[in-house]
């Protein structure tokens, strides 16, 4: 059974991080260069961590499966990044950002982690501006802000609808600088396929070169995973096609606990599915809810009528009706479930009935078309490209889609997993968003972890490892891990099945979306837990992977990732079944208030569930880390 000590430092909430920083052991500058650190992934968390560690003097090797670190999917984040700067003089503070994030997460995250996140949020904006991130500005030259869901202050910094892109290019420029200076060794198109544990500690990884197919072993004093979320387990999502869970899943199979996998975020405003061939769902930024109004017809009969012909009185602006104080800016989980509910009632719009309107008519009247274009032009362009419709003249049709995973590898306050030496950052860890992430908080967390948390906390671990104690990459553990990777590749290629990889991924996605999506039931989850193992068996009997191991082989890459999703999907459902409550993005129909809101059970489930692998065919172990709320009282979320 894994030991889950959160290592949250003692003392008053607002002093914990400051005091902890003063207490962490340091590595002296001359010794830093004797330590090698592997960073896997170069999104916001990975790129910021790799460059910051290199600047401190550590030797860093960075591995990315993309052809360039600039392509990591952080690049696609549209809306913004939160920070408690209170530039708007509207009552924001570190405490309020902390509180909003904790409440938004439905009281399922760690107080101390979230408070630290809010504290360093202000440093992130300073850092990004210094790097040249072209945030939106007022005419006076100072930084502009906008509002986002789950908050009643304007604390979101943005760069048009491409904030993630600009922040990632900032982190990428820092990474490029350190690569150019010879401080970081970059390995592009290199996919981590296993974690190597030596004497109970993470000491290396096994990597496949995606161009040549060559497998290589890499040893280090510590391993940092910043490999993103696992939302593509649903197949259709707003993730990039390449986003995958392989690094965290293989670490899980080496003993790292996976926490709260059932906390998945379904984003309310995405472009609806159009056909079976579809490979990807596209997000329409939450920022649109600042000016767009969400509605469906009051009467079922009106759902196929042209929206302009439906009189104001026949429209149901249901978020404004149900949540008058937050209105269209209520948190994502709540907005998604409300959309599902009105569609379940038969009032959904569009051919499939799975859509609601996001209407800008009021905004166009108020701001003019030019004003709307200035704020959201690129989003309206994307909508037009995909649907061939103009949102300036007719409302957008939108529907919820899988967007983010709050669950991830379990980490302590130092971002270290239960395997010493294995650190996990950004979306790949579970730590800061509880059961629901607020908009504009993912970018904040990725950069907080990489720029301002890990550079301090990793020293505390390395100081316990004598310089030069790093094992060689030809030890028995390395050879065994390499052999298991090679064996899996060979098994996939040797299979003479009849179905392409995509066939299984689509079917898995369908099971999860229907039975473990926006609403979950005991019966549905039990059904999924029968279907997924059967599908996995079918995959291994019937998958057809063309090509060979020693070439550029995208089918092989995808096969390995889908094989992992077929295992992870089962754990996701198991976690959802065991958590007999509703909280945030995890909605169990059995546990709701009469008005359809989440009914938490703090007494029995006010904890983190961290699953521990027990070997193939054996049920995993459910470890528990209690969430002790010392400073905030867990209460029922209210956005009404």
């Amino acid at each position: 059974m894994a030991t889950l000590d959160s290592h949250v430092p003692p003392g008053p909430l607002a002093d914990k991080w400051r005091r902890h920083k003063a207490d962490i052991r340091l590595v002296n500058p001359a010794n830093k260069r004797k330590y090698e650190i592997i960073v896997v992934g170069a999104g916001l968390a990975g790129a910021s961590a790799a460059s910051s560690l290199a600047d401190l003097g550590y030797k860093v090797k960075c591995f990315v499966f993309h052809d360039s670190p600039r392509r990591a999917h952080s690049i696609a984040a549209q809306g913004g990044i939160n920070a408690a700067k209170n530039y708007q003089n509207d009552g924001d503070s570190v405490h309020r950002l902390f509180y909003d994030t904790l409440k938004g997460g439905d009281y399922r995250s760690r107080e101390a982690n979230v408070h630290r996140l809010a504290e360093v949020s202000v440093n992130i904006i300073d850092q990004c501006v210094a790097q040249g991130v072209p945030f939106a500005r007022e005419y006076g030259g100072l930084l502009a802000n906008r509002s986002f869901g789950g908050a009643q202050v304007s604390r979101t910094f943005y760069a048009r609808g491409q904030t993630g892109q600009q922040l990632l290019l900032g982190a990428y420029s820092a990474l490029s600088r350190t690569i150019g200076a010879g401080l970081v060794e970059l390995h592009p198109q290199a996919e981590m396929l296993d974690l190597v544990i030596v004497d109970g500690q993470a000491k290396g990884i096994i990597v496949r070169d995606l161009v040549t197919g060559k497998i290589s072993r890499h040893a280090a004093d510590a391993v940092v995973l910043a490999t993103g979320g696992y939302g593509n387990v649903f197949n259709l999502s707003t993730y990039a096609r390449g986003s995958n869970a392989t690094a965290i899943w293989r670490a899980y199979k080496r003993g790292a606990c996976l926490a709260n996998p059932c906390y998945t975020q379904i984003h309310p405003t995405c472009i609806p599915v159009s056909g079976d061939y579809q490979s990807k769902l596209t997000l329409m930024s939450e920022s649109l809810r600042n000016d767009g109004r969400i509605w469906v017809p009051r009467k079922k009969e009106d759902r196929l009528r042209p929206p302009a012909s439906i009189a104001e009185g026949d429209r149901d602006y249901y978020l404004e009706r149900m949540y008058p104080s937050f209105g269209n800016l209520c948190p994502r989980d709540i907005a998604s479930r409300a959309a599902k509910r009105v569609c379940d009632e038969g009032r959904g719009v569009g051919e499939t009935g799975l859509g609601v309107y996001l209407d800008f008519a009021d905004a166009v009247r108020r701001l003019g078309e030019g004003g709307v274009r200035e704020r959201y032009g690129n989003l309206f362009d994307i909508y037009h490209e995909i649907t061939a419709e103009s949102a300036y003249t007719a409302p957008m049709r939108i529907f919820p889609a899988v967007h983010y995973t709050m669950g991830g590898l379990w980490v302590d306050y130092n971002l270290m997993s239960n395997i010493p030496g294995l650190f996990v950052l950004g979306e790949a860890n579970f730590s800061d968003h509880g059961a629901n992430r607020l908009g504009a908080s993912a970018l904040m967390q990725g950069l907080a972890d990489g720029y301002f948390v890990l550079p301090y906390t990793i020293g505390g671990y390395l100081a316990t490892q004598p310089p030069g104690s790093r094992p060689g990459a030809d030890g028995a553990e390395f050879m065994a891990a390499e052999a298991s990777v090679t064996a899996m590749t060979a098994r996939l290629l040797a299979n003479k099945g009849r179905q392409p990889v995509s066939h299984f991924h689509k079917r898995l996605g369908k099971i999860l979306w229907e039975l473990c999506g926006m609403a979950r039931t005991r019966a549905g989850l039990e059904q999924a837990l029968r279907q997924i193992p059967a599908l996995r068996e079918e995959f291994w009997a019937d998958v057809l992977v063309p090509g060979s191991a020693a070439t550029f082989n995208q089918s092989l890459e995808q096969a390995g990732r889908v094989a992992d999703f077929l295992e992870l999907g089962e754990l996701l459902c198991r976690d959802a079944l065991t958590r007999e409550e509703s909280c945030g993005g995890h909605f169990r129909e059995e546990h709701q208030y009469p008005d359809g809101e989440c009914k938490r059970d703090d007494e029995h489930f006010g904890h983190v569930a961290a699953w521990e692998y027990q070997g193939e065919g054996k049920p995993p172990l459910r470890n528990v880390e209690p969430l002790n709320y010392e400073f905030i009282k867990m209460s029922v979320r209210n956005y009404k």
């Binding site: 993309h66 501006v129 490979s279």
Partner: protein, 269 residues
């Protein structure tokens, strides 16, 4: 204008460049695809063709793709002779079949440039772009050393113009579109983005000299002012930035000649 009725389905022939690996001979191969939805994206068509090829025991077409929403810059096909295909201001992944007509033959090739060698089929190696960035495409600002963000006002016009340049997704369409395979629009975008901001002034000369020198050393050509780059750019980045690059380069070169940087060196112990 009379709206044309959208056909329910269409059939096309893909004429695709197949090349087993770097330096190997390549050729075009035809793949018919039938009864396609006009709402299907071009990359989804490649997915469908690839699943068909897999089932027939063939080798799927290798193509680069990731975000499929026009921002990561991974996708990189030249379609009917145009990088990212017909349409303005979009990447390959944002191209939908409704753009084509029933019966069309669609020619698909990789981005072609000496500095972007073919890896396989439609996939090219664009690490040259990363190397240009590593040479100088940054502002040196270590985490922990940044001043308060609002201590440095940036006029809105400058910030907006910097953002216009900063939108570059690093796809390489500009290079593929240019008869000289020039990377000047790519370099100009980064040099302008950082050079327009007050934070970027300290390294402005050093940046432009280093990036241009690296660009030249990697086999990219020069600009002969035909602006195919801007026309092909999925973010429609203006060639005006190339003029800005040239001006920065000239000033920096003159300053480097007449006012060489001091030798610097370590501080007193």
């Amino acid at each position: 204008m009379v709206a044309l009725a959208t056909p329910r389905t269409l059939s096309v022939t893909l004429r695709v460049w197949r090349q087993a690996g770097p330096g190997q001979p390549g050729k075009f191969v035809d793949y018919p695809a039938k009864d396609l939805s006009p709402n299907m994206s071009f990359l989804e068509l490649l997915d469908v063709v690839n699943d068909g090829l897999t089932l027939q025991g063939g080798e799927p077409i290798a193509f680069a793709h990731d975000c499929r929403e026009g921002i990561c810059g991974t996708c990189s096909c030249t379609i009917n002779g145009k990088p990212h295909g017909p349409g303005q201001g979009i990447a390959t992944c944002q191209l939908y079949l409704r753009t084509f007509r029933d019966g069309d033959v669609i020619v698909v090739e990789p981005f072609r440039a000496r500095a972007f060698p073919v890896v396989k089929d439609l996939v090219t190696d664009r690490t040259a772009f990363d190397r240009i960035q590593q040479a100088g495409g940054f502002i040196t600002a270590r985490a922990g050393s940044a001043p308060e963000a609002n201590a440095l006002p940036v006029p809105k016009g400058d910030a907006d113009l910097a953002m216009d340049a900063a939108q570059c997704i690093g796809c390489g369409a500009c290079v593929a579109a240019c008869k000289n395979a020039s990377a000047m629009l790519f370099v100009a975008a980064k040099v302008s983005h950082l050079g327009l901001l007050p934070q970027g002034q300290a390294e402005r000369d050093r940046r432009v000299l280093a990036m241009v020198a690296t660009m030249d050393s990697l086999g990219f050509g020069g600009c002969s002012n035909q602006y195919e780059c801007s026309a092909a750019c999925p973010k429609l980045i203006s060639h005006d930035f190339i003029a800005r690059l040239n001006r920065d380069y000239l000033t920096a070169s003159l300053r480097a000649t007449f006012q060489p940087e001091p030798a610097g060196g370590g501080g007193a112990g």
